[in-house]
């Protein structure tokens, strides 16, 4: 099992609840706008504390309200690609990529820069990037942190077809060759059907 998630959490008047067991590979989180997809990713990453529940990823218990387990965000080693890019505005692209970098990841820095087409952006400040450029840097930053699993919130939404294709191929490689568990939010059915081993409706 890559993901074992059973959580509920109150947000304002809304209640986000989700319960699924996902096999190895990539699991797509699918659902209408406002259903709670980003909230689930936040809970798996450790940024949002569920009111109740249990989260296991790759065999490791990250959260268990009954057992009083709550691994801190820093030690979960999620590779989180946020819905908004969240680049650090006071660091150049190069420093953003390096921020979480831990050696011996599934991909070398050169590879990541190459396949995301970031070479000409390394010395730029985030505020000068286009929407898609920022999104690509965010993907690179997450991949370089040598994560134990990936959380991707519509990572390809603002990318063109060619770039999208290339990134999807890389995601497939990470899924198959490296065996990274991936939780993936997307509204694009084609994307989901191609990548996902399991689809969770929320």
């Amino acid at each position: 099992m890559s993901f074992e998630v059973k959580v509920s959490r109150r947000l304002g008047k809304a209640m986000v609840a989700c319960n699924f067991l996902a096999p190895n590979g990539l699991t797509a989180l699918f659902g209408p706008s406002g259903a709670g997809k980003s909230s689930v990713l936040n809970m798996v990453s450790g940024l949002l504390r569920p009111d109740h529940g249990r989260i296991v990823v790759g065999g490791q218990v990250l959260f268990d309200s009954a057992a009083g387990i709550d691994i801190p965000v820093q030690q979960r080693h999620s590779g989180y690609v946020f819905q908004d890019a969240r680049l650090f505005p006071h660091m150049r692209v190069r420093a953003n990529l390096a921020y979480g970098a831990r050696g011996d990841g599934p991909m070398s820095q050169a590879d990541v820069i190459d396949f995301l087409g970031l070479a000409h952006l390394l010395d730029r400040w985030p505020r000068s990037l286009s929407g898609g450029e920022a999104q690509r840097v965010a993907i690179g930053r997450a991949l370089l942190s040598n994560p134990r699993f990936l959380l991707m919130d519509e990572p390809l939404a603002s990318l063109d077809r060619a770039r999208r294709e290339e990134i999807m191929r890389t995601i497939e490689r990470l899924r198959d060759e490296v065996g990274l568990p991936i939780l993936y939010v997307s509204h694009d059915r084609a994307e989901v059907e191609r990548l996902a081993g399991a689809i969770v409706e929320i």
Binding site: G46, L47, V73, R86, H90
Partner: protein, 228 residues
Amino acid sequence: MTPEELEIVRLSLRVGAVAVAACLPVAFALAWALARGRFPGKVMLDALIHLPLVLPPVVTGWLLLLAFGPQGPIGAWVEQALGLTFMFRWTGAALAAAVMALPLMVRAMRLSIEAVDQRLEAAAMTLGASRWRVFRTITVPLALPGVIAGTVLGFARSLGEFGATITFVSNIPGETQTLPLAIYSALQVPGGEDAVTRLAATSVALSLIALVVSEMLARRMGRSSHVL
């Protein structure tokens, strides 16, 4: 300027620089606690920091004298433990300047810390950064405008500090006589207007330099500002 005046300027700069440097980490820590913390007595802490602003400086100086004087509870302890005397010493002038500058520095920094987008800190945490690293590499740099503004305000306030200093550590040439105290002395002498003007102009020039430097710094750091 006469050699005595040069000496006064040097002393003022030393007092101001030491006061601000010593205050910086304390002020930032306090600003951080006030911006982010939820603890009992927070308003009290806030009020305590504002005290030197609200009380007439002479009272602040008097309280410093009571606390840090040779027979004061803190003064005696500091003297024994650290071998640091404040009474009639430039260190006392720096202490007075620091206390007076503190509220200004804390407020500016707090304002900037409150404006830091906590989602960026969250992002850094998912990348494995410890709380301390997040603080050092995200919070502090993003709050830099407030640090710079606070430093400028604090330094300017230190340069202008008079009442607390003269009440606490007296007006001793070469030791505690900073620019404002020298100006006061010159004002006591009829016809001292020339000296007053010269010394005041020096104060103004020093603060102008500090301002220009801070603006340059701020501009170099200004990359994080938003554009279109």
